[in-house]
Symmetry: C2
DNA sequence: TTGTAGGCGTTATCAC
DNA sequence: GTGATAACGCCTACAA
């Protein structure tokens, strides 16, 4: 039982430190928040008292009194796959450099869960919020506006969104890939997407494919669409549905890399060669895209830069130094082995 | 400008609700926390006032007054790969069923960062903590004990750890796999592990391999060890180091699936056939293990069950219904294509 | 530079 | 059942 064993039997408070140091609570508070406003001699006494008591400030009390938490919240659709990991990592690093803590929650792609979490974050005092995509109930934006909580949305870019966006144009990005696919001779195109309802990224990507087909004069009926949740196994299951259709696609364009990798794996299990029998594309260019075999053709997204820029904008907004703006991140096509030209063989392979 | 536009110009408080409903703040508080202790008639008035004002309770004030947050914190080594994702998901679900919120932070496998985050979580009022592994500075456990914050560690099982563990025996699990590898004829074994310093899971897994070799009478010099950070590319880089050594291993046993998949990918790039030229094993059995080609032989860990059990124990500890205990989760070998028997060919393949 | 004192929004202990 | 009212731990004018 050393001297550090809680002398009072409870966790030390500011007042305890003040008493031990022989100063007022105000001085201790200053020592903690702006040490330069405390004279050296006093500083030492307080510092000693702090470490003697093992004092740690009570965050909730601080937030209550200061109306500021130095905390920014991020709500992402999922933590189960690595789609958002890298961007969030960069986001967190940038916040860390500015002494800001990140709080993360995941909504499982459910809008009502997300709303709940937005309210929770706000009631916990988050100074600002990072959200994925911009399409959500206007009421929630109204709520945030009234509470004065700045928001930035990412993974999308849209100057007309009404709120700051830091991201890329999902429509154009996917259209560019679809253009490429079509130029390689593919006509029977299938796509596996996240449920597009309430998911602007997915629905815009889908529109991108449709637009590319329209440009090429392909009938919309040549496009088979399956909506599913994101996951490797889900991708595989979707592929099976696709192959049960009367006309077998020559290419499957997936809404993200996770689905695509699942498709490739299942295709191989089913005895199909990728890309000879079936081409596959993804979206995101996360790590598994490279290690898939064949490696995955996909849309490269500069996740880290996106996360960093979002953090910077949010930090500015909290300091209210800036008006809102939008930052566009450029994506690029990442060609790899999973996409090949289409020789337009009949939909049911024969032995000839 | 409708009636909901903040009437007072600031966010509504309990007192505002009380005023509008014509009751005391105590009653509103009761309405919020134990509605059954308020008579129906009053309840309705309060309910109306709440929704009229768009009132939402201030979490920090609540925590300050109640000394309880209904929040449990989890600190994991990384969010960058999916190792902890599934377990954490199950953990969160179980907490959710009990009205508890989960706060997640990641430490990037750095002990000092983790300590910092533990202190942050506590000062934010987390009612309890979930940590990965048990090996850390005793001072931090002392800190938690003094603050009365229950802790459960997971991904390890050790009744002697001094704190509750919900997990598996890393030593035995890896030893079982190594036994199998050796029984297949492998002698020149290499291993790629996370830095074992401060990482009990990694160091125990390594010991498991060493023990298996000892049991088989293999000299310890037959084991090449490379320590690296977890990541796909890191696995690939480690493989290159390994292949530069004078005696080429016939099998690479990796500390986790992420490394192993990286090894397989790089091996193929280098023109090696897996498992003919080189066998590879992992640990965890996360999703990529299945989609790797060849699919990965690994140690299966029941992540979801582990997460769920940890949540239950933590919930009990917060209610202080229980004394601490330990729960062992059984792992199993998951044999797949990346591991084959060793024909003990010379370390440098020739054309014969 | 430092101290005093009021307030932040809830909860909880009492009486009534 | 309901209402005062004192905590909870910290911040921040304002004074000294």
């Amino acid at each position: 039982m050393n001297k550090e064993d809680s002398p009072t039997g409870r966790t030390p408070t500011l007042a305890d430190v003040a008493r031990v140091a022989g100063v007022s609570t105000a001085t201790v508070s200053r020592f903690l928040n702006s040490p330069d406003r405390v004279i050296e001699e006093t500083r030492n006494r307080v510092r000693a008292a702090v470490s003697e008591l093992g004092y740690a400030p009570n965050f909730n009390a601080r937030a209550l009194a200061a109306k500021r938490t130095n905390t920014i919240g991020a709500i992402i659709p999922t933590m189960e796959n690595a789609i958002f990991a890298r961007g969030l990592q960069a986001f967190q690093e940038e916040l860390g450099h500015n002494g800001i803590t990140l709080l993360v929650a995941s909504s499982s792609y459910q809008m009502n869960v997300e709303e709940e979490q937005i309210r929770t974050m706000v009631s916990r005092g988050a100074d600002a919020l990072l959200l994925i995509g911009y399409r959500r109930d206007p009421e929630i934006y109204e709520f945030l506006r009234r509470r004065g909580v700045p928001v930035v949305t990412t993974w999308v870019f849209d100057p007309d969104a009404g709120i700051p966006t830091v991201g890329f144009d999902n429509f154009q990005a996917m259209k560019a890939l679809a253009d490429k696919v079509i130029s390689l001779g593919h006509r029977r195109i299938a796509t596996i997407m996240a449920t597009t309802e309430g998911n602007d990224r997915a629905s815009e990507r889908l529109k991108g494919i449709v637009a590319a087909m329209a440009d090429a004069g392909l009938p919309e009926t040549d496009l088979s669409i399956i909506e599913t949740t994101y996951g490797i196994d889900e991708g595989g299951a979707a592929l099976e549905q696709l192959l049960a259709l009367p006309t077998r696609p020559s290419v499957v364009m997936c809404g993200n890399d996770v689905l695509a990798v699942g498709v490739i794996a299942r295709a191989k299990e089913m005895g199909l060669n990728v890309p000879e029998d079936l081409s596959v594309t993804g979206f995101d260019d996360i790590e598994i895209a490279k290690i898939s075999s064949p490696p995955l053709t996909t849309v490269h997204v500069p996740h880290r830069r996106m996360g960093k820029e979002a953090a910077r904008m949010l930090i500015n907004l909290v300091g209210s130094n800036t008006r809102r703006e939008n930052i566009q991140i450029e994506t690029s096509l990442q060609m790899r082995g999973s996409l090949a030209g289409c020789v337009n063989r009949p939909s049911v392979a024969d032995g000839s």
